[in-house]
Amino acid sequence: MIAQFILRRLLGLLAVLVAISAMTFVLARVVPKDPARLIAGPRASQQAVEALRERLGLNGTLVEQYVRYMGGLLQGDLGMSFSTKRPVLEDIRIFFPATAELTLAALLFSLLVGLPIGVISAAWKDSAFDYVGRFLSTLGVSLPPFWVALVGQLVGYYFLSVLPVGGRLSQGVAPPPNITGFYTLDSLLTGQWGTFLNALWHLVLPAFVLSFGVIAVFVRIMRASMLDVMRQDYIRVARAKGLTYSVVVLRHAVRNAMIPTLTVIGLQVGLLMSGSFLTESILQWPGVGLYAANALLAADYNATMGVTLVGATIYTIANALVDIAYGIVDPRLRAT
């Protein structure tokens, strides 16, 4: 029964991935763009452009191109990037760790800042701290990330000279040996403290920018959840038993209020990943987001499709796993 359920979900996953590949392929190619001409430049003859089109695999009908693309895809080949001249899969392998490191750093920072503010705001509702917290969380959801990035750079780099601009390490600092692809973690694992601090220094601004809106979400969710919990009978009982207010908040309220917040954390990871596109582009963080932005501008079909497909695959697999987990936990869901 459970095996059938899992099989059904996995088949559904396959269908979704085929549909995504077809959609991204068609969307990328039906728009009137000619990457061959863009690459060849204005002074190239039409014959040279045609030759280049053939070399890039852009000749033939849309169906022929799709079949060719899918043939490669089944063998794990996402094609060559027109702009970096490398296999797209290799590009993603190179750039993805930077995005993952940035996303995780931003998530960690959001949790460390957002949750305590939410808890304190709820515990001391309508205090000055609560008002400030609410104001800041409103700012967080209202200010566009690109604006936060520009201002953050202006203040951190230009005016205060405390933060660097762009890249994961300073010029002349060699990357640590590749273990996880996360410069902070790899430098720690290999005991390269100088590199670790340098990598951390470069991570501060992009992670702050990326986390800015998410902190606001965590503050609001945590505060609302805490307020809800604080109204429950068991909290009143705990207070009646003579426990101090801070013990009630920390031991009883926070733990229960975390449940809905944890659900939201999962959703925010997706938001952070997509937000990294803009943050990386503005702050020159060399991750998949910057890679995809450059690919879009250069009409680099294979790279655009590769990033979309890999992103969609991760997201779809994660969702399928959640579905399966729900199915295991709650047998009623297996019937649907």
């Binding site: 000619d34 001409r37 204005p42 002074r43 003859s45 014959q47 020159q284 890679y291 250069a298 009409a299």
Partner: protein
């Protein structure tokens, strides 16, 4: 007090950023304390912050200015333009060159002892192989092809190891000048070509995949590292034939960073973290020049920004095109909208070229009354709507459109602006759509490979055909008389006859059968920190550098 200052700083930063950029350039804070060794290292390093970093290193393939900038560090040709001159060249890989009596054959004596970075010798055979590859690829071989009458194999004759006889097949007094261009004249190593060439079904790939990501030239620099979309680092070629031993502090390392965000490029320049950058907004450019810490050029480039006409609908009538040209406020656009960083266009080809007729010929003035009269004469109904299409990412095309829109409103016409990303725009401009499917007008720009009427006018205004004339003629302009003049100019050497050709072409393109509004000639957008010397600001070498000539003072 301290926190008040901080908040004031943050608040001012927010306000300034909301305005787009700091209006008054603040005094840069002192760079973070660095050890003397680090400072010395920095002084020996040239850092460029550029808006894009395409990484096709093949000088036979890549045509963009950004890529050409990379090629100029890695490769060389026979000659180069002398300093800022566009009419004189100096020998580079050639030691000397001289023509025969009718200037149809040139003998190049090549420099001895020059090696490619892969160890291969540079000689006449290497030059011929490199140029043949250029022509065979077909992307950048126009100059070589034209001056060998399409037969590189027989018209580049290796007389001995260091002597090459160049037969044009016609009198070609301008051959050395044509070879001064940095597009399509650089020589690659025959050894690298041979080792990396793949032949499938009898068809060579010309080692293009290898040359895209690797280099083997005779240039002053070599690749140290290359991170696509991030940065490229060059180091000195230790065996460079000109040597590194004189008293100038030439750069040991060159770092070219990809910095797409304009405000970041400005900040990097101001903070001393970049030495050279492309400043694309008028406000930033003027603010940075005003600090006195940066060099720029006040001369216009060899480039015209156009609004090209498509001869369709009401625009078939030249009077309507004349009316539109009269409705454009040239001085207002150049001086106010572009802040004086462009000069109004006075000719269909750049005013600095030898062939320019400029103000000796017909000129438009901003004259809405005359425009109205012409429209009435042509019977164009009030409220007629026209379209103007332009590529996104270049602010000036949009600004040209907005000024035109305001001008046309004055004379009772409507203009719809249509923006396309560059690839989509190129597809329309260079594609095969019939004229009826094109927009009425398009924003466009062109520049020559070298100072030559034919080289400039043929791609832009000649009827597009299968002989590859009119490659940049996106509006499919066609005028048989002009075509004949262009073809005549290709082989004409008599100055008086050439002058007559230029004047007639000017009259046709400006007035009788206008191909475009010749809006403006822009200045170079590059700014260089004052301590870096040696850039000649040559108006043909747009957005590129002779890296060997640069040094820190």
């Amino acid at each position: 007090m301290k926190s008040q200052s901080f908040f004031a700083l943050v608040a001012s930063a927010i306000v300034l950023s909301a305005c787009g950029a700091p209006q008054a350039a603040p005094q840069p804070a002192a760079p973070a304390a660095t050890a003397p060794a680090a400072s010395a290292e920095r002084a020996r390093t040239l850092i460029l912050a550029m808006p894009s970093l395409p990484v096709n290193l093949d000088p036979g393939v890549a045509t963009s200015g950004a890529e050409n900038m990379l090629h100029r560090a890695l490769y060389e040709g026979l000659v180069n333009f002398k300093g800022a001159s566009t009419t004189e060249v100096e020998p580079v890989l050639a030691e000397s060159f001289e023509p025969n009596a009718d200037r149809s054959v040139w003998t190049f004596k090549l420099r001895r002892g020059v090696k490619f970075t892969d160890g291969a010798d540079f000689n006449a055979e290497a030059l011929k192989i490199g140029y043949k590859r250029m022509v065979d690829i077909g992307l950048l071989g126009n100059t070589i092809n034209r001056f060998t009458s399409g037969d590189v194999e027989n018209n580049l004759v290796v007389k001995d190891e260091y002597t090459l006889e160049w037969r044009c097949g016609f009198s070609c007094p301008d051959l050395p000048l044509a070879l001064g261009t940095a597009y399509g004249t650089f020589v690659v190593s025959p050894k690298a070509l041979k080792e990396n060439e793949k032949i499938e079904n009898g068809k060579s790939d010309h080692a293009m995949p290898w040359f895209e990501r690797n280099a083997a030239g005779t240039g002053p620099y070599m690749i140290e590292s290359l991170k696509p979309n991030e940065e490229i680092v060059f180091v000195r070629n230790p065996n460079y034939w000109r040597g590194w031993g004189d008293d100038k502090q030439r750069f040991e390392r060159i770092i070219i960073r990809n910095v797409p965000e304009p405000s970041t490029r400005r900040q990097l320049l101001e903070r001393g973290d970049a030495d050279i950058s492309l400043i694309t907004t008028v406000e930033d450019y003027k603010a940075l020049r005003a600090t006195g810490r940066f060099q720029g050029s006040d001369k216009p480039l060899f480039r015209i920004n156009y609004i090209v006409f498509t001869k369709r609908g009401v625009l078939k009538d030249p009077r309507v095109r004349q009316a539109i040209a009269y409705a454009f406020d040239y001085e207002g656009y150049a001086n106010n909208v572009e802040g004086g960083l462009m000069r109004r266009g006075t000719s269909p080809w750049p005013s600095g070229m030898r062939s320019a007729v400029g103000t000796r010929g017909f000129q438009y003035t901003y004259d809405p009354e005359k425009a109205r009269a012409l429209l009435k004469e042509a019977g164009v109904p009030e409220g007629t709507e026209l379209t103007y299409m332009y590529a996104t990412g270049y602010g000036y095309y949009e600004r040209m459109g907005l000024v035109l829109q305001a001008g046309l409103e004055q004379i009772g016409l409507k203009l719809r602006l249509e923006e396309r990303d560059e690839a989509a725009f190129n597809d329309i401009f260079y594609g095969n759509r019939p004229v009826e499917e094109l927009p009425d007008m398009m924003g466009y720009a062109w520049w020559p490979d070298y100072d030559d009427f034919y080289n400039y006018v043929n791609p832009v205004f000649h009827t597009r055909n299968e002989q590859n004339d009119g490659l940049g003629n996106g509006a499919r302009y066609s005028n048989p008389e002009l075509d004949a003049l262009i073809q005549q100019s290709k082989f004409e050497t008599d100055p008086a006859k050439l002058k007559a050709i230029y004047e007639r072409a000017h009259q046709i393109l400006m007035f009788e059968d206008p191909a475009a509004i010749y809006v403006a000639e822009p200045q170079e957008e590059i700014l260089i920190v004052n301590s870096v010397k040696g850039h000649p600001w040559n108006p043909i070498h747009v957005k590129t550098f002779d890296f060997y000539s640069l040094y820190r003072e």
